[in-house]
Symmetry: C2
Subunit: 115 residues, 2 copies
């Protein structure tokens, strides 16, 4: 699969895919002419990255955790990182719930006035 198709199917830009490669997140074969050729699982990987980005992880962090996914090995340091990120995400979820409640307060108040 060439880069344009991966981009379309994963919903990100061609530029983003080249950026992921630069950050060590995504690899590819090259054709004789030098163009990137991706395996089928590239689309799924990119979607996974998007989820982690949306959860607030950085490229560096994702790159550090990728060996856990790819090679199935987990060092003590990686295990600590996993726990740290888990805690961080749990905190973010809590903050989002709080924000949601604050917005709901506003919505309820607005509805009460207009009723």
């Amino acid at each position: 699969m060439r880069i344009g198709e991966v981009a379309r199917r994963s919903g990100v830009s061609v530029r983003a895919l080249r950026y992921y490669e630069q950050q060590g997140l995504l690899t590819s074969q090259r054709t004789a002419g030098g163009q990137r050729e991706y395996a089928d699982d590239a689309v799924g990987r990119v979607r996974f990255f998007q989820q982690l980005y949306a959860a607030g992880l950085s490229s560096r962090r994702i790159a550090e955790l990728l060996p856990c996914v790819d090679t199935g090995t987990t060092t003590a340091a990686q295990r600590t990182m996993l726990d740290d990120e888990r805690a961080r995400i749990a905190e973010r979820i809590a903050a989002l719930h709080t924000a949601l409640d604050r917005l709901d307060d506003l919505i309820v108040a607005a509805d009460a006035r207009s009723a």
Copy 2:
């Protein structure tokens, strides 16, 4: 209350407080000498901003929603924004839960190997 104390009590930098003012989020009185003097509720407001920032809202968006909080009035456009942001935050929470599950998969797999 002067700016340094607001910063300490709300957990943000002095620079951030001046930035919030520039963005129209936070107002203050001035002393004869030109220094900012904040009301007591400033700390709570700043904490509120931090929650919304953490939830992914921009300064511009927060500024647009502030009238709902401050004046208690809500126009149709603001009501739409409230609903939009509510939906956006709900989506982000779902994405975070997905990411959390993916990390849990990795953690469980790591524990299974080391057990």
